[in-house]
Amino acid sequence: MHEMSLCENILGILKEQALAQNFEKVTRVSVEIGSLSCVEPEALRFGFDVVMRGSLAEDATLDIIETEALAECLDCGATSAIAERYDPCPMCGSHHRKVTRGEEFRIRELEVN
């Protein structure tokens, strides 16, 4: 359940941004999660409400943008979607693939006042 500490990381960023960008309340946090990023969206939602309680982001909405992962096949060169790390290349069947997108975990946008 590392999503709890990931939420603490999010709260840390919100506090830093509050100082840097001069706001005191966060009403919406938009987070991008790549489908291969080690982050479980539902666990993140659960942790988010608990961790934000009593903070500048209490009752803030958490928007999750899930990004589909892509992998490049190192044998045939095709780039295609990958749902699981062990999925073979749909073009040639090789497992020799490099993930090129889908490991992101970042804050994209904040709504503040």
Partner: protein, 262 residues
């Protein structure tokens, strides 16, 4: 080493470390009433990654090889480590950072070998992060050219996401577990460079399929290496020591003095 330390109450305790940091955010600016949207492209793990980068340069500057050992509970990590330290003996000085939710049992087992060890109790936490490890390494004060083993909390999920500043993650998988573990926990096997297939002395008593396990590990990480070892019988341990020695050679390659063996 922890120059930007914001030490908060994250529940983790490092053996022997007294923490006296506080950080308050008193700021009296007046804020605008109206709502606005701020576009950010901020990596949420950036802070951990910054601590990991500090740890990594600490190790690089001293020619220290740091390994992050990850596995499920009960894979035999500590026994393997005890055996490894014994085999490295006088050739190479070893230090250990032990991560567990509770108890200092593992650090006590390591200390019995003569190697300095610091226990981190993560409390409710399910993984080590780079900040805790930085403080533990500070306490250990490893000598130049040594090896630092970081034994992570027994968990094949959460530690995958947290870079600690190590040179390699080494996954330990025992043959009493399933062949499909690399597929069930792909993030960990994707992040590791080496798998130690431990307890191989039990293979004659089990239906465990070594070839299938290796094939599964390569499906999630085509370049992963696999060594079959037994901490109990000593089988395969020489190959692991050879891998360690080669990895240590790489850690020393950028080291100004070039030779640092003790």
């Amino acid at each position: 080493m922890c120059t930007t330390c914001g030490c908060g109450g994250d529940g983790a305790r490092i053996e022997g470390a007294a923490h006296g940091h506080h950080h308050d955010h008193d700021h009296g600016q007046s804020h605008a009433e109206d709502s606005r949207t701020i576009a950010l492209e901020l990596d949420i793990l950036a802070k951990n990654n910054a601590y990991a980068a500090e740890n990594r340069s600490f190790f690089a500057e001293r020619g220290i090889l740091a390994l992050n050992l990850v596995s499920s509970p009960g894979s035999g990590k500590t026994a393997l480590l005890v055996k490894t330290i014994g085999m490295l003996g006088g050739r190479l000085k070893s230090y250990v950072v032990e991560g567990d939710q509770q108890t200092s049992n593992d650090a006590d087992r390591i200390r019995a070998t003569g190697a300095p060890a610091v226990q981190i109790n993560t409390g409710k936490g399910c993984h080590l992060d780079a900040h805790m490890v930085g403080h533990a390494v500070e306490r250990l004060a490893p000598s130049e050219g040594s090896v630092v083993f970081i034994e992570n909390v027994g968990n094949l999920v959460c530690p995958a996401a947290f870079d600690l500043g190590e040179a390699h993650k080494v996954a330990i998988l025992s043959v009493t577990e399933g062949e499909d573990k690399p597929l069930k926990y792909p993030d960990m096997f994707a992040a590791s460079d080496l798998v130690l297939l431990n307890k191989s002395d039990l293979l004659p008593h089990l239906d465990f399929d070594v070839a299938e396990t290796i094939a599964n590990a390569r499906k999630v990480n085509p370049s992963i290496k696999v060594l079959q070892v037994s901490a109990r019988s000593g089988e395969g341990m020489e190959a692991w020591i050879a891998w360690l020695t080669a990895a240590r050679g790489m850690a020393l390659a950028g080291y100004p003095l070039g030779t640092a063996a003790e």
